[in-house]
């Protein structure tokens, strides 16, 4: 959650741009992203070179999307510590540096693919797409209200934290840690209560505006021939990249 709101805002801005990928149907983009992830994941992590074809395919996607490549590459880098740690641990155990490198490459490329998907699909369309591919409607509605109130609740928590800091000027009295602990838990309890009450208020105002148990959204347009052609092209390219990866091993 550290500075996450800024990151999601930037993604939101990217997703509102226009490109061939931006114009494709969300369901088709989700399916092609899942296909890509399965192809990458099923490539054995024997060497980082095995992921060059998938990386090249992703680079094409990045180019077509028109998104800032360096910012995307940097942002996908947040996942590197995880595979790096376990790759290193495995390297120490098995003396196989190639496996470690392949694990990092596989994980990084997968994260970049998800980032590309979210970067070319606005969140409302993404949620409609998720519903379209069979994610339960209730779960999508929870996701929508989570996103809608995330910033509100996080801002509320930040204001409470700032107020507490102003009261004690950020000084932590070492001998009175128990009261600090009580104060922190009290603040969280108040935030819990405010969130609870806010949810009830939200529901009341939703009912006042005619909420009948389902968020209204613009019906997603039918999948066009161009979308199907894109899916076919993406599928074939992914298959080709996967076969090239097999050859390169």
């Amino acid at each position: 959650m550290r500075d996450r709101s800024g990151k999601s805002l930037r993604l939101e801005e990217w997703s509102r741009r226009d490109s061939f990928l931006h114009r494709r149907d969300a369901r088709i983009k989700i399916l092609s992203a899942l296909l890509f992830l399965v192809a990458v994941s099923s490539t054995p992590p024997s060497s980082p070179a095995a992921f060059v074809p998938a990386g090249a395919l992703l680079a094409c996607g990045l180019y077509i999307s028109g998104l800032p490549p360096l910012a995307l590459l940097a942002r996908a880098g947040v996942i590197i510590p995880f595979p790096l740690f376990f790759g290193f641990v495995s390297w120490m155990e098995n003396n196989n540096a190639l496996f470690a490198g392949a694990l990092v490459a596989r994980s990084y490329i997968s994260a970049l693919a998800v980032l590309l998907l979210v970067g070319v699909t606005p969140l409302p369309a993404l949620f409609d797409g998720l519903r379209g591919i069979g994610v339960p409607a209730l779960l999508v509605m929870v996701l929508q209200s989570l996103v809608r109130y995330l910033q509100v609740i996080v801002d509320h928590g930040t204001r409470m934290r700032r107020a507490a800091l102003c009261r004690d000027a950020g000084v932590m009295p070492r001998r009175n840690r128990q009261s600090l602990w009580r104060r922190a838990s009290g603040a969280l309890a108040v935030l819990f209560g405010r969130s609870y009450e806010r949810a009830e208020g939200v529901h009341r105002s939703m009912i006042a505006r005619g909420f009948r148990g389902d968020f209204l959204s613009i019906r997603p347009p039918a999948v066009t021939t161009q979308d199907w052609l894109y899916l076919a092209g993406a599928g074939l390219s992914i298959l080709g990249a996967r076969m090239l990866a097999r050859v390169s091993q």
Partner: protein, 305 residues
């Protein structure tokens, strides 16, 4: 919540495929039950509580030695919203984290949901449910917080080991130590926050229906601890019997008396390593589910007779 978000590309195909196959119907079932039991007003509540967990993770608790920790939230959600609702909220949070914040992968969503939204939530809920009445209530809250972290972490480590990530016993032991400290922190914060929430409004805490005995509570807690310990132990070491048999030379003289249907946890007639293992895993789960269902129905019939 941030016990271990496994990204894509780390888990092997059999592991993520099996866990997705198990988690998807599980989430579907939780949603279906929620649709029956929750009113429309709960939909914004579930979403806002998800946002609360995000915000709560930003609030630091002083630990000492100049460090601080923060709430993870799985057990707290289970004890306030109930395990079914907590499962849905945590699944929604995991989806959002994987899409917007690159915390955890999309294909690994089944694994992460299984670890945190199912195992973590139920490991947090059961001790609280068992001990929620009487003087041991606080112990139940603490055990819930502790076990939710330990169970999730143990499951994640086991999945990594099954995916071929080699970990020495020292690494597994070190990780277990880190998770134990995190779990104790989570238990303490959960108790402190729940008590403060209760002072504000006792109605915000979930009151379990039907009180099982303390012995049952202790049994569940010990069973959970043994499971977590066992998972970590087998994650670090080779199979004890096989290793012992190889050392004393018995393994060379073994005779096969009965051929198991899934030798070495694989379906032998299928092509491809991962499909053999994935189907064997699914078949195993289905058999265990069938046995549990049959035993449960027999017990219910006996009780009602």
């Amino acid at each position: 919540m941030e016990v271990m978000h496994i990204p894509d590309g780390i888990l092997s195909v059999p592991v993520w495929a099996t866990l997705n196959a198990a988690a998807i119907p599980g989430i579907g079932l939780a949603v279906r039950r929620a649709q029956k039991s929750l009113s429309e007003g709960h939909v914004p509540l579930l979403g806002v509580m998800g946002a609360f967990v995000f915000a709560a993770q930003r609030m630091n608790f002083p630990v000492g030695f100049g460090t601080s920790g923060h709430l993870l939230g799985g057990a707290l959600l289970a004890m306030t919203m109930g395990p079914g609702a907590a499962t849905i909220i945590l699944t929604a949070i995991l989806i959002l984290q994987s899409l917007l914040f690159q915390d955890g992968g999309l294909l690994a969503l089944g694994a992460n949901a299984m670890n945190m939204a199912f195992i973590g939530v139920w490991a947090g809920w059961l001790p609280y449910r068992m001990l929620s009445k009487g003087s041991l209530r606080t112990v139940g809250m603490f055990a819930g917080g502790l076990l939710s972290v330990l169970a999730s972490a143990a499951a994640a480590i086991a999945e990594l080991r099954l995916s071929g990530v080699a970990m020495s016993p020292a690494i597994v032991g070190g990780s277990a130590g880190v998770f134990l400290v995190t779990g104790i922190m989570e238990g303490l914060i959960t108790v402190a926050v729940l008590q403060a929430v209760e002072r504000l409004n006792p109605g915000w805490l979930r009151v379990p229906r039907g009180m099982p005995s303390r012995a049952a509570g202790a049994l569940v807690t010990v069973a959970l601890l043994l499971t977590i310990g066992g998972v970590l132990y087998i994650s670090a070491l080779p199979d004890g019997f096989e290793s012992f048999a190889a050392r004393v030379g018995v393994a060379a003289q073994e005779r096969i008396l009965w051929s198991a249907p899934f030798p070495d946890y694989e379906v032998p007639f299928l092509p491809g390593d991962w499909s053999r293992k994935a189907l064997a895993g699914l078949a195993g789960m289905a058999i265990i589910y069938g046995i549990c269902l049959t035993v449960g129905r027999l017990l219910m019939r006996q009780r009602s007779a």
